[in-house]
């Protein structure tokens, strides 16, 4: 490997963690929309302890607006996640279940699947390929 290639791979690591749009490592944008009475949350960026602290309340506020009927978490924009993200998912699962609502996950890549499998989340929550499929499944339930 040449010195030039090494420099390139170093900067790739740094840029990848910056995420899209130059939003930086320390922000965790979360987009919530309501589709047919179901709350759709598009998670993005890095889902660690730091990020989770600020978005938990955003999701809970959104859940109140749909009276905890249904929640879909989309992971398409996630660049990194650790066990703090698992805690966020399990916490929302408890919250939705308490209100007899339903919840689903979608757009999960292989790295995330591994985390979900390890933690047993795949045993309690359905995973769909697309947002539409997840919303449809919750609506029909």
């Amino acid at each position: 490997m040449t010195g030039i290639t090494k420099v390139r791979s170093l900067s790739t690591v740094a840029f990848e963690t910056l995420g899209s749009g130059g939003k930086g490592v320390f922000t965790m944008p979360v987009e919530t929309t309501v589709v047919d009475g179901i709350l759709l949350v598009r998670l993005a960026g890095e889902l660690d302890h730091h990020a989770v602290e600020s978005i938990r309340q955003d999701i809970e506020t959104g859940l109140e607006s749909v009276r905890h009927r249904g929640l879909v978490l989309s992971f398409r924009g996630i660049d990194f996640m650790d066990s703090s993200g698992l805690g966020l998912i399990l916490g929302r699962y408890r919250s939705v279940k308490e209100h007899k609502g339903r919840m689903a996950l979608c757009e999960v890549n292989t790295t995330l699947s591994k985390l979900f499998e390890l933690s047993g989340i795949l045993k309690i929550l359905p995973v769909f390929e697309s947002e539409q499929a997840a919303i449809l499944a919750l609506k029909e339930a």
Binding site: V13, A14, T17, H50, R56, D82, S83, L118
Partner: protein
Amino acid sequence: MITDDGMLVPDNEMHLQFRSVSENEAFARVAVAAFVSQLDPTMEELTELKTAVSEAVTNAIIHGYENTYGEVRVSCAIWNGVVEIEIEDDGKGIEDVELARQPLWTSRPELERSGMGITIMESFVDELMIESAPGRGTRIRMRKTIASSTKPIGQA
């Protein structure tokens, strides 16, 4: 590698020390990933290392210092393609390490922790050692072999 005066030293090493604030979780895992990238790891190996480091640093901040002011130290050494990472704090320590290693167990259920941090570390690295005692801080040591790394670092 062996130095001219016969010392056995890592091929390369680095040390970080930083304050126990949650912003530094991303800083620590990105710094380690950037350092390890000289071994030309796969994306998967890099993600696994970043996740393991993130778990350990988060534990130091949440459990070690319970979100109070403290110092976290991370060192990283490369020994012939094996990455050895130490994450150390001077926090409250772990009462029962065997219990803490149990999947889904957490000392802070009120914080919405998943109890999977140590389990994730164990499955993403090859070796994980935990040294801790109440009031004496915690030191986590992990080792992972990077498959593609065949050439020693530091050779022209």
